[in-house]
Symmetry: C2
Subunit: 473 residues, 2 copies
């Protein structure tokens, strides 16, 4: 058999072994496709008759005919009257290149002690509760639940979110103003589209300085101009705003500095929005976690007609869920419809039903309460350790959230050598400079995410960090 | 108590009843927020002292102080030395408007007999299998699974898809070329972005005529020009293409006509792509369902360097999953990285892990096989019913997919009255004209989706349709 086939440059021997679920016919097709694709059977090559093939291969002629018919239908072979079956003209495939797209550098998993900000404790993921909610959905959801659903999110979830956000975050809204999104970047992209539709062209978006640098970059990619507005101890310096289309802020716990927007600035910011006709995009990424008092209510509650509120499950549950929600002012609902006119929803209905269920049953609240107590203890331990062992360091941003900022004395190492020194010891924290528009003007400080390690690993992670820092401060 | 409060225009009586989980302090805060928001307490109003408030309300002064502090922090009140606590300046909220965003008209659930195309049998949703896979994930996934993951989809799913698509659809690819998307519209949007980055500006995209009209509209919204290319009995008339950036086709089963792209046209189309430097976007929406033979392999297998393949779980499992996948030529990987540089993944990792598991365990194949057998029976019943009862009708597009086209004789009702007549009887099918660029030039035909009814309801749905059509043909 191999001798016969070698005439055609084919190595069918290998492929004709029927594998799991592959019959002889599938094996023959596979081998022929491969031979055509790889160029071993060049275009124009005339194939032996089905009779000859069947004989050579020792399989039924019908099987061969079916396989050849299939490949003719797929365009690998062509069958012309009186000239038999030939290999059809084929383009040669470019060799495949292996290039995965990992998450952004700062979000990739690291080996060792992970004290970067932006992550909750993934060991706390409510696996049991997620599974129980999924079971409930699978047992009770009507068949129509799995069809095409509302593009802004299913009503069950928007109702649950309206109630939850009103109760837990002081958001004043209705389900009609809520848009379920596939994570924060998706929400920001959508807002950029909506603002474009509103003003008929690209506008200017203001961002805090420091901030997560990907967000202004995304706004610029969407055609908007992006400005940076500095932060002081009261939060965004509102008077630096002019006539921007919108300003993106983190009022509950500035990212990454950890400042809370002061009461006076909250009012000032809303006044700016009213006066300038601008919008405030409130990124409430960790608003559920406040330790010194009950959470400060969302800015949105003060001006539902001017504030675009964004919340996410990334910090309360896990980033992998890719679940976020926008609360839009009424005046943006029509531009939203326009901007998303040809889209479908981007979020799996099962996930939406599961989240709605977790809210309705109180599981989300219980989970947030458990995490809040856990993170508060970690924050306290961090504060004590700094007080005791790093007297020249100054910890800030500790009233809320999942991270704090440690300012280092002027005679410490510069940021890069310090981070390098820590990384050599397997300790991963972030410097603050990448968050600044002009990194060279950043203060000397590191950002410590205290939520990331698993509960049992936190104390030793903290000790290792403090020990290493003592050597350099 | 009410008497005292009426001085301040407040109806605290109502809100101060502590509800589930709300203490007196929360009740007081809620009432005050509400009063400020609604304008019942106008800006500048001076509040009574905390001592007086506590006495009036009959609650501890500490509780009142805490509530007032909270509202100062949230910007509802302001506290100035020597002038006590006043209501801070407040914008008035616009009244909320109730406007949900349902799915596109043709995708909304209907009452009665649903024989529209575009839906699988939702009663066949593999609830047990989905739950079992979720359980497996919750029991075995490492914590890091729930963090930020690869933006193009997690490797577990891309590996499973590369294997599945190679085996079931003849797609020639590697995990690095696969991008997991949140449904077809998201995939098309992404391709529009990628093509823009590739050529540095908007280009021209060709679409089949007829086609789902939302897709050319989406491409135009993304800045590209959109052309329509007519279909004949061999599929897309390739020679009508000129120098488009890309052409979007449904080779396995043209949507909605149901034609299969002929072998000669497949080769011709790939030749066009090579010659013109254009790309072919292969929308393989129902490629798994072929009844007269084994599925025709994807066009992608012939020219992985020129074909952008898109598959989806919408027809094989359910549209509500919002799961689709792109297979990109190597030359588009760098433009993809550029276009999605600031994005995160849009798809929940749990769903990705579940789908990967369903593929790995063979559940997806079993599900597709079960559905294929079911849909084939339905198609056969439809064919028999038309043959027997509607001899003047001509059924086409029945070799594959979840829908067929019934051409009506020239003396039938026009489309709109016919659809109206059917709808009055509770029967929902689609006319073909909305799919055409010039609806007035469309043939007289209806599109019958035979997958949608639940299994037990199909025979009676079919009988009702045929009975009603007999009256008008």
């Amino acid at each position: 058999m191999e001798d016969q086939w070698s005439r055609w440059g084919l190595d069918l021997h290998v492929h004709l072994r029927p594998g799991a679920g592959h019959g002889l016919r599938a094996g023959l097709e596979h081998a022929l496709r491969d031979a055509v694709r790889s160029g071993r059977l060049p275009s124009g090559t005339r194939l032996p008759s089905s009779r000859a093939l069947a004989r050579d291969l020792g399989i039924a002629r019908g099987t061969v005919t079916q396989a050849l018919d299939q490949l003719v239908a797929e365009g690998y072979l062509e069958s012309k009257p009186r000239s038999g079956i030939r290999v059809a003209p084929q383009p040669t495939a470019a060799p495949p290149v292996e290039t995965a797209q990992p998450p952004h550098t700062t979000l990739r998993p690291v080996r060792g002690i992970d004290l970067r900000s932006g992550f909750p404790d993934l060991a706390a993921f409510p696996r049991r509760e997620w599974l129980a909610a999924t079971r409930h959905i699978m047992q009770t959801a009507p068949n129509t639940a799995f069809g095409y659903r509302e593009r802004t999110g299913i009503i069950e979830l928007r109702q649950a979110l309206a109630e939850y956000l009103g109760r837990a975050r002081g958001v004043s809204t209705t389900p009609a103003h809520i848009v379920v999104c596939a994570g924060y970047a998706h929400a920001l992209r959508l807002v950029c589209q909506v603002l474009r539709h509103l003003v008929g062209s690209a506008g200017a978006l203001a961002f805090e300085d420091p901030t997560e640098p990907d967000y202004p970059a995304l706004a610029e990619q969407m055609g908007h101009r992006a400005r940076r507005i500095p932060i002081d101890r009261d939060g965004l310096i509102v008077e630096e705003l002019t006539n921007e289309t919108a300003v993106v802020v983190t009022p509950a716990h500035q990212y990454p500095l950890g400042v809370t927007l002061s009461p006076a600035r909250r009012v000032e910011l809303v006044s700016w929005a009213r006066r300038a006709g601008g919008f405030i995009m409130e990124d409430d990424y960790d608003g559920e976690f406040r330790y010194d008092r009950q959470p400060v209510g969302a800015l949105q509650g003060m001006a539902p007609d001017r504030v675009i509120y964004v919340g996410t499950a990334s910090k309360t549950i896990a980033p992998g869920l890719r679940l976020a929600w926008l609360v839009l002012p009424s005046s943006l609902l029509a531009p939203l419809r326009e901007a998303t006119r040809w889209d479908e929803s981007s979020v799996n209905v099962i996930d939406q039903l599961v989240l709605a269920r977790l809210i309705q049953t109180g599981e989300l609240d219980r989970h947030v309460r458990r995490c809040r107590a856990r993170y508060r203890r970690r924050r306290d331990l961090l504060g004590e350790a700094v007080n005791r062992h790093l007297p020249h360091g100054r910890l800030s941003g500790i009233a809320a959230g999942l991270h704090a900022v440690l300012r280092l004395p002027a005679d410490s190492d510069h940021e890069a050598p310090l981070l390098g020194f820590l990384a050599e010891r397997g300790i991963h924290v972030e410097g603050i400079s990448p968050f600044y528009h002009r990194p060279q003007e950043a203060p000397l400080a590191i950002v410590i995410g205290y939520a990331t390690p698993a509960e049992h690993a936190y104390s030793s992670a903290l000790s290792a960090l403090v020990r290493a820092l003592r050597e350099r401060m």
